[in-house]
Point group: C2
Chain length 445, copies 2
């Protein structure tokens, strides 16, 4: 894996980038510090995240944590940290964003700054999702050598370039902290890659309190009850394992992968699109994914072979989020007929009921060689578009689309069979579903 | 079940029919008797079958059994009985037919006469398939009262009219002897109908040596090792049970049922037809059914939903038998794409092989949420006709079509999608597959 040494140099920030980041971080911390001074229920403000741990890539955010006393209520923590964020960043056009709590974001000379509230808890006594971060910073500051920090950068860039970076629902992949844990646990990126390339189902990286539900587990060294891989889809765990095999074989794909959607797959894809009311990304992505799964199930029941399905939410600045649900089908049409299986003919009462119920509506009723009654039924919908339109209009309540999205769907939706390669935005939204991840799966040596 | 009394009168032979049958029987027996006289290894000739048991319907055959000494070889039994048959019936245009043994058939004043060889064995020491018959005759002559004989006639006619009569492979239904056993066992047709309408899976009619494999068992009182229902398809057992429920509810359908093929099902049916060399019916029907099952499996593997399949052999006098295989499909076309599931990505060697093998030929390869690799494949055939033509030409040896039929198929075959309602012969051949058996399944009261 000679590629790793060369990669370290490639991903390390330049001297100019370091200077710019340091200046932005110092200014952000100073601005927040000024705002909190004199407030007794705030212990202080401190830098966190990848910058504090020295594992940042050019372009990374700066995180400033405002540490509240545990006596402060959650409501007050939210409102006060918001005020602090806006006041401190007022010269930098602040706005609110949502993770599990709202926080304030701004940009100082091209570097995004997040002002994030947390509680100054003791280890293990977590109250808000951000409380662990300070312990992560502290732990990694001790655990990572300078070379390991460079290795973390390489790993982050490798995952970024291959669609495997980010623990948010939109990605279901690996967080920056998971990258740090992998390198710290194995001692180097090379060792981490070797171990992942040889991973077996059920392997646990780190020490866990008990057996884990993920195909691979990555335990948080700061909290042995927390499996970082829970945020990662099993498919993405597989892609990491296979990517590591490729890296071990000499590949080091640090430039962004270009998806190459297959024309046949685009033609065989049916999409549902609609606009949604703005809400936190984790909420809407969760709803969109759940809607896609539910509609995939409806399609399956309706006789359509769903090869893959997925959801995408595009959030253009200032515009409403647009939800795209996509279904890659064996065929966009289904057989006209299907066979319903009834009771055993020995079960007299039910057999009579089945025969009676089907006498008129079924073109063909018979006794099968397994002694069960059967009846042919005409499928209600022979095209996927007709089925989806019906599910999203007349049968929306029973469609499985989460209640939170139904009002958006009612306001209007578009169902289309086939995706034109020239429709760049749409192709971009569904490209993961219709492209082979050749780097992990190409079988290259 | 008042219908039964009226039915007895309807099916009983008229006085004229009785006289004609008696005269034909007497003449047949006399002709055969004259031919065998003086042959020491032949014990005699005797009347058997439904005539001897008094359970015959107008139009029934007369069976004359030629009883050979057990010391006679099978080859000699066959050749000598054939000579006797031809010599005795020479005035009545005899010809050979095949059951398990060849036998001679002729027609005396409109009544078909079968001259059948058997061995004069002791009970249980069966050597040829016909040997049991004399014991059946003896048993039923004692067991059946005159009213039970009439009941047997009603049951036979009921089964005839509903496609449930005949234990040969073409029918896979109930023999005349099975009708006699049912009535004799229960004491009357009414009691037999009541019992069958309430049958439970695993019921055994008569006494068996052990558990039986058929959904219902009908044991031969002359041979407790023999289950008469083995010749009956499970579907036909079901149709009898349901027909009995209809009879119990007041129905008595003694006129032939008219099949009403459904137009939609005819359109959704694909047929394969070819001519075969002449051979015994049990042989060719067995081969045809086996070919239909094998090709149904090929269609299923190819992505076609086969709702029903079947075979038919038409044997027009003097012409070659014509085999028709029919497949009622959910759709005559299949999806263009299918998904192949590969190994778990944790299985490094096989995962690499799968990825490599599919890198070029598959438009889409990915890791599934179950950790297994998947690849989309283009189906070779998207129409059932193309698949069947390919299976019957290029891939005949691997098609599952029995070797005995392959030469016939090689000589030429026709594959067609959709059956025209106007094609009477073809519709007749497949009507069982595309018609609802409304009498048993109509849910009438």
């Amino acid at each position: 894996m000679r590629g790793i040494r060369a990669a370290r140099a490639r991903v390390a920030p330049t001297a100019a980038e370091r200077r710019a980041k340091e200046s932005a971080a110092a200014e952000a911390l100073a601005l927040v510090g000024r705002e909190i001074s004199g407030r007794e229920h705030i212990a202080g403000a401190e830098l966190g995240g990848s910058y504090a741990k020295g594992t940042w890539l050019a372009g990374a955010d700066i995180d400033v944590f405002v540490v509240f006393d545990v006596s402060v209520s959650e409501a007050r923590l939210e409102s006060e940290s918001r005020r602090i964020g806006f006041a401190s960043m007022r010269a930098h056009r602040p706005y609110v964003r949502y993770a599990s709590h709202p926080y304030v974001e701004a940009e100082i000379r091209g570097t995004r700054v997040n002002v994030v509230p947390c509680y100054g808890v003791r280890r293990g006594e977590w109250r808000s999702a951000a409380d662990r971060s300070r312990f992560h910073t502290e732990h990694m500051s001790r655990a990572l050598t300078p070379q390991m920090r460079d290795d973390v950068r390489v790993l982050k860039r490798l995952l970024q370039s291959n669609g495997l970076y980010g623990a948010e629902l939109a990605r279901e992949a690996f967080s920056g902290y998971a990258c740090e844990v992998l390198v710290a646990h194995h001692g180097s990126l090379e060792a981490a890659v070797r171990a992942l390339a040889r991973a077996r189902r059920g392997d646990v990286i780190g020490s866990a309190d008990g057996p884990q539900s993920t195909p691979l587990a990555i335990m948080d060294p700061v909290d042995p009850a927390r499996n970082l891989a829970l945020a990662v889809s099993p498919a993405n765990i597989g892609r990491l394992v296979m990517l590591c095999r490729a890296v071990e074989s000499g590949s080091m794909p640090l430039s962004p992968a270009r998806a190459r959607p297959d024309a046949g797959m685009l033609r065989s894809t049916v999409t549902v699109r609609f606009f949604a009311r703005a809400r936190p990304p984790e909420t809407i992505w969760g709803q969109a994914k759940s809607a896609a799964s539910a509609l995939a199930a409806r399609l399956g029941e309706g006789g359509f072979g769903v090869m893959r399905h997925g959801a995408h939410v595009s959030e253009p600045a200032g515009a409403r989020p647009r939800v795209t649900l996509a279904f890659v089908l064996e065929s966009t049409s289904a057989p006209r007929w299907s066979v319903g299986t009834g009771p055993d003919h020995f079960d007299a009462a039910n057999a009579a009921r089945f025969a009676e119920a089907n006498a008129r509506r079924s073109p063909l009723v018979w006794v099968g060689q397994d002694s069960r009654l059967r009846a042919v039924r005409r499928r209600e919908h022979v095209t996927a578009t007709a089925l989806l339109r019906d599910a999203l209009s007349r049968r929306l309540a029973a469609s499985g689309v989460p209640a939170g999205l139904r009002r958006d769907v009612r306001a209007g939706f578009a169902v289309r069979a086939g995706v034109r390669a020239s429709d760049r935005l749409l192709v971009g939204a569904i490209s993961d579903l219709v492209s082979t991840d050749a780097r992990a799966l190409g079988g290259r040596r």
